[in-house]
Amino acid sequence: MPIQIEIISPEKVLVSREVDMAVLPGMEGDIAAMPEHSPMMLLLRGGVVALYEGDKVTDRYFVGGGFADITPTRCTVLADKAVPVADISIDTATAQLEALSEAWDKADKTDTSRLVVLQDQIQAVRAEIEAGAAS
């Protein structure tokens, strides 16, 4: 029995189809959304969503953080940003990483909330570069 997966970015719907399993990059570790999973809401870190059919990965999408809503029949990923792994531009991501590291150096080290935001962003861009390089 498959599960309906939707990957939605603010601009458009990237994926809406049935898969056997989807592995999501949760903030506190990866989580596999499978049919009959108990309802769950999840905060995502920057990472790769892998879609499985049978035991093969059919598609991989990079998401730059976001949320996921898992129910027994459905898995909705609300991504801040989402691209198919094959379309990742490493050059852009590297430039972003440089800009972010610079922002990190300049940032007020006592402003923890800002630091946390930056840290998450840097982590997301690093994950993007990694995913892009691996593909």
């Binding site: 970015s9 309802p39 949320f67 809503d69 909705t76």
Partner: protein, 295 residues
Amino acid sequence: MASLKELRARIGSIKSTRKITSAMKMVAAAKLRRAQASAEAARPYAAAMRRMLGELAGATRGEDGAPRLLAGTGQDKVHLLVPMTSDRGLCGGFNANVHRLTVQSIRRLQSEGKTVRLLPVGRRALNFFMRDYADLIIDHVTGTSAKEIPFSVASGLGDKINALLEAGEIDVCTLVFNKFRNAMTQVPTCQQLVPMIVEDASHELEASNDVAQYEFEPDEATLLAMLLPRNLQVQIYASLLETVAGENGARMTAMDNATRNAGRTIDSLTQVYNRTRQTNITNELIEIISGAQAV
């Protein structure tokens, strides 16, 4: 009466105006299609966001310390109005409608003794409010007529509003923008962003027999704190997209009218031109004939 030469010049100039307006109409129609498509493409995200927020709000209901975005500051003193317009004019009453509604709200709030702040979006709004309400403007954003609005415009705006709210500088935030109904009609609307109005979805869950007990990772409060600013951005993004679609719709209609008007004016001027020419010829003939008779 205008001479033939003057008439010719006027007809010529109106013809070129008509060319411009009909070209603008064509461009607006093409842009409208694209804007409408992107507005539609953005809808699923907003819908899914609303659903999640509803479930979450249901789960955290009754707990203390709700985030300010959801509950507001508990006060109702400082109102932030965000009028959204296009960067460019020539689109009929599109921008004027937003201006009028905003001015009405400003007057009403001020007469109730509230403080009003403005954050105009779009160059038209900025210019308009600079004239009479320059001291109320705290910030502005332009670039709403760009080819494609990146989400970063909305997220930047959302972060700004959030920061103002957290700093306690504003209590209520309202968007004023044109809701896109179809190419002919845009409805100027006020939409309250803060405190956020969340429809509660949890009763649907409770209504169904198996009470779906949601798990949250991390906990509800953290998720809510992440989701709320995101939702703010999404709502702003949606209204930005509506503004773009509306602008192009309004421009298309306005330019269509202008083109038709130009055509009518050309027709009537051509008639005057022909009649004048005829009169001139008749006059010349009369002169020649009476000259010949006099000999």
